[in-house]
């Protein structure tokens, strides 16, 4: 199985451990990742909120490059995934927009490649194939799966899981031997988008998610978005100071959790780079 790999900017910087763990897990599962050559920004955050056309064109250039590779695109980051998928859908529905984008990027977007989120691809694998790689079942670990806002929404664009009650990540967590807790904040806003402009709002939203997950009995939280991860992980200290709480909930990428079950060591998966250190929880499992 071979994919064009669109890592996006986060996986080269703040979310380096997402990249590490993605590559490790994919390697083990026989998924070959061919990074898109000369890829550019996906258009998330600033671009699409200032210029709709720019937002689409940035994504479209990446798709055109992937088309030259002739492979479906695999995207770990939820924001990148959503931008690429939205851009493709809009161009499919609007031939005028398509022509303008082709003129701007100078690249013909004719090979219509598929766009898949990493979660979708891994969840689509055969259960036995996944289970065969589990050498260290994470028995006893209670995990709250957190999907965030973009991964499963809008359903007309994403469509691989239920937008109100997603379950794909929970299935993977259970295959890794851990227990996924039943909780209802799976798709609530983490507040990352307000992190700079309106921090109090971001802190409240992050606190709600972390508290509900803790009350549901979770030992840790796993997610599939670099923005969610950094917001919930790095801001936990701020939350505790602002609300007088003593939250200490590790926030990992679901690939890190899978990697642990597959037998990779903590450093290979970048588990040493998180703010709330997950290693005590992992080691307590024995």
């Amino acid at each position: 199985m071979r994919y064009s790999y669109y890592s996006g900017c986060s996986l080269h910087a703040t979310a380096r451990e997402f990249d590490l763990s993605t590559r490790a897990v994919c390697r083990r599962l026989g998924i070959e990742l061919a990074e898109i050559p000369d890829w550019n920004c996906c258009g998330a955050t600033a671009a699409h909120s200032t210029s709709h056309l720019l937002g689409v064109a940035l994504a479209a250039r990446n798709l055109a490059l992937a088309g030259e590779q002739g492979l479906d695109v695999l995207v770990p980051c939820a924001a990148c995934y959503q931008r690429l998928a939205v851009a493709r859908k809009e161009m499919d529905q609007n031939s005028e927009l398509w022509k303008r984008v082709v003129r701007i990027t100078g690249r013909d977007y004719t090979d219509r490649v598929g766009i898949k989120s990493l979660l979708e691809v891994l969840a689509g694998l055969d259960s036995e194939q996944l289970a065969a790689q589990v050498v260290r079942p994470l028995e006893g670990l209670k995990v709250a799966c957190y999907y965030g806002c973009l991964l499963v929404r809008p359903p007309a664009v994403t469509g691989f899981d239920d937008p109100e009650h997603p379950r794909t990540m929970d299935r993977l967590v259970r295959l890794a031997g851990a227990e996924s807790v039943d909780w209802d904040y799976k798709t609530e806003c983490c507040g990352a988008a307000q992190g700079v402009s309106n921090e109090p709002v971001a802190l409240k939203l992050a606190r709600d998610i972390l508290e509900v997950a803790s009350r549901a009995g979770a030992d840790c939280l796993v997610c599939a978005c670099p923005l969610c991860q950094s917001n919930l992980d790095a801001r936990q200290g701020h939350v505790n100071r602002a609300y007088g709480t003593s939250l200490k909930l590790p926030v990992m990428y679901f690939t890190q959790l899978l990697g642990l079950a597959f037998g990779f060591d903590e450093r290979e998966l970048g588990l040493d780079t998180l703010f709330v250190d997950p290693r005590p929880v992992i080691r307590a499992l024995g």
Binding site: D162, P163, E164, H165, D184, Y185, V212, R215
Partner: protein, 661 residues
């Protein structure tokens, strides 16, 4: 050569204000066979009608053209005028110069004038070729069959039977009573719903002229107005109701527990059961799917204990027919299955998010909690109850586009019941609009507001579970702010939709359903209990969401129509139906499958041709009781053998020529 008269109506300013009616009349005087042509302010008025009669006599007219409104409105009126004038009533032709001309071309007077004239020319061409038509008669079977034993079917059955006609009432559930008998109280008077409906159920059982079939469904309907034959399947109940005394030993001792349909899944019943203590008939049935004997082959506790020996595991479905003259659809409604699509309210995963009907059972003294409002999850009394309205109603993306009409009122009732039964309770109602059209309804809603129910105008975006509590997040659009309410119990006012299987019932009865699946009335304003199929009537929520008073009123209306039909010895039939020219018919029978009323059939005839021995041949024949004169057969007939009287090929082609040449 016919002698045709043309009468142009002004309809006040409706027509006269747009076109020049005297001008039309003057020009029409020159059309073929026209010997008299005038205009008049209101032809449908008494003096207008008398003017036509007088003109027929004075000018010896034998065809009449009325240029006025739609034939749907006044064709019948002018047919009666012709009859009074001594002519065959089918010798009138109408030109619709109002709906088809002046009402839609008010701004283009010149073109309207030309169009009106063309329409009159067309009508004259057809009138000149009209033939007298004669009605025939068919006998009437003086019995009525009603599908559905809810309050609508019950009321219709009682009214028709009290008028002296026999009624067959068919109900698919083990008891009659429908949805109404599940309700606790009725708005706005707070009458006990069971107290006012169970006497009617008992009256049905006791009435000598009502034959009640429960656990039964109609399977086939043949025939036509006045003469239907209905095939009924009565499912095996595995209890011989002739022997059973209803003593109750069997259901007390039955070891199986099954969620009770009557209690909307909140309580338990046994596998041999009566749905509720006042059920009619008050005799049990065995639910084969859950019965231990039927599923495992062992048990037979009920059969061993029954003192009357009434349990009969070998009982089979019975199929039989009933002959009736009229049919009434009273199939009612069910609640929209919200848990399939409303993920934001938990897809039904939270036991403390319930529907209004479940709340009715919770608050009912005969319900699973004995009338105490308790949370299904842990049996505790809720302190804060949130009601969410329009779940599935007025929501085209997930449910139905229409307003379900009853939810605003029953939610106000539920809110008051919470305040009354749970001292110190907090009640919130999230609403889009509060719609309270009905006698005493607005006052009832105001009472709820006065007594402390908090009405929040806005939608609920999500219901979460956080530990034991439910968090209801929504928006208050009057404050312009998001709001969150910690709730112990959430009640959804789910949409009213046609009962399951309504589409199949419509097909069997030969009636239409609208895009939402509700049965279509013959006219939404003026014929609300009739259908386009003669002899088939509608009662209750099967035609649109209705509350109890409207349902009962409509049921009595349907009964009046049925009684009107059954009180006649014979029916005159519409003569404008298909006829087959047997000489031309080649027997291809293309007309048989296209007929929506199953009115065309194969018939054997013996042909006598000179110089040949008599020859048997199959041709198409029309059943005059079934044919509605739609003309589908006429259109497919390659030989031109089938024609609709009053719309013959010759007449229609004359119209086309008059318009186009």
């Amino acid at each position: 050569m016919p002698r045709t008269g043309v009468f142009v109506c002004w309809c006040g300013s409706n027509i006269g204000g747009v076109i020049d009616c005297p001008g039309i009349a003057a020009q029409a005087a020159g059309f073929p066979a026209v010997v008299h042509s005038v205009d008049y302010k209101y032809l449908c008025s008494e003096p207008g009608q008398n003017m036509i009669i007088q003109a027929v006599r004075e000018h010896r007219l034998d065809r009449v053209v009325v240029a006025s409104c739609s034939p749907r409105l006044h064709e019948e009126t002018f047919r009666k005028v012709l009859a009074r004038a001594g002519l065959n009533p089918y010798l009138v032709e109408m030109a619709n110069i109002r709906e088809h001309c002046t009402w839609v071309h008010g701004a283009e007077k010149e073109q309207a004038q030309a169009k009106a004239l063309a329409l009159v020319r067309r009508a004259v061409a057809k009138a000149n070729r009209l033939e007298p038509l004669f009605e025939s008669t068919i006998p009437v079977t003086k019995r009525c069959l009603i599908v559905g034993g809810g309050i609508a079917g019950i009321q219709t059955a009682l009214d028709v039977a009290d008028a002296g006609h026999e009624v067959v009432l068919v109900e698919r559930e083990p008891t009659i009573g429908g949805n109404m008998v599940k309700l606790d109280k009725t708005f706005p008077t707070l009458d006990c719903s069971a107290c006012i409906s169970t006497p009617k159920m008992a009256a049905v059982a006791a009435h000598p002229d009502i034959r009640l079939y429960t656990c039964a469904e109609i399977e086939k309907v043949t025939g036509y107005i006045g003469n239907f034959e209905v095939t009924i399947r009565r499912k095996a109940r595995y209890v011989d109701h002739e022997k059973c005394t209803g003593c109750g030993t069997c259901w007390e001792k039955c070891p199986m527990q099954v969620p009770s349909e009557f209690n909307a899944g909140l309580g338990q019943r046994k596998a041999i059961y009566i749905p509720f203590p006042q059920a009619v008939p008050n005799k049990p049935v065995i639910d084969r799917e859950h019965c231990r004997y039927f599923t495992t082959g062992k048990c037979q506790v009920c059969a061993k204990l029954c003192p009357a020996g009434a349990v009969d595991y070998e009982q089979e479905d019975e199929v039989f027919t009933e002959k009736v003259g009229a049919l009434v659809a009273a199939t009612g409604f069910q609640l929209f299955n919200w848990s399939r699509v409303y993920g934001e309210y938990g897809y039904g995963r939270y036991p403390d998010v319930i529907t209004g009907l479940q709340f009715e059972r919770l608050v009912n003294a005969a319900g699973p909690t004995g009338g105490k409002i308790l949370r299904p999850s842990d049996g505790s009394a809720p302190r804060t109850v949130v009601f969410i309205k329009c779940v599935g109603s007025r929501d085209e993306s997930k449910g139905r586009s229409y307003c379900s009409r009853i939810c605003c009122m029953y939610t106000a009732k539920h809110a008051l019941q919470v305040l009354e039964k749970v001292p110190g309770a907090q009640v919130y109602v999230f609403y889009m609009d509060v719609r309270t059209a009905g006698k005493g309804y607005e006052e009832f809603y105001q009472r709820a507001v006065r007594e402390g129910v908090v009405y929040v105008r806005g939608r609920v975006s999500k219901v979460y579970r956080d530990g034991e509590r439910l968090v209801v997040r929504g928006v208050d659009t009057l404050l312009g702010r998001p709001v969150e309410v910690d709730a112990d119990l959430v009640v959804l006012a789910t949409a009213v939709e046609p009962a399951a299987g309504a589409g199949e019932t419509a097909r069997l009865l030969g009636i239409n359903a609208d895009r939402d699946g509700f049965f279509q009335e013959a006219h939404p304003k003026l014929r609300p209990v009739e259908t386009h199929t003669g002899g088939v009537f509608l009662a209750g929520a099967c035609s649109s969401p209705k509350d109890i008073p409207d349902t009962v009123a409509q049921a009595s209306g349907a009964a009046a129509k049925v009684v009107g039909l059954l009180s006649r010895e014979q029916l005159s039939t519409n003569p404008m139906i298909a006829q087959v020219n047997e000489t031309l018919c080649t027997g291809c029978f293309l007309c048989v499958p296209v007929c929506p009323y199953k009115a065309l059939e194969r018939r054997k005839i013996t042909e006598l041709l000179p110089g040949h021995p008599p020859r048997e041949r199959e041709v198409a024949g029309v059943n005059p009781g079934l044919c509605q004169g739609c003309g589908a057969c006429n259109a497919v007939c390659r030989a031109g053998a089938v024609e609709v009287r009053g719309f013959t090929n010759e007449q229609l082609l004359a119209e086309v020529d008059a318009l186009c040449l």
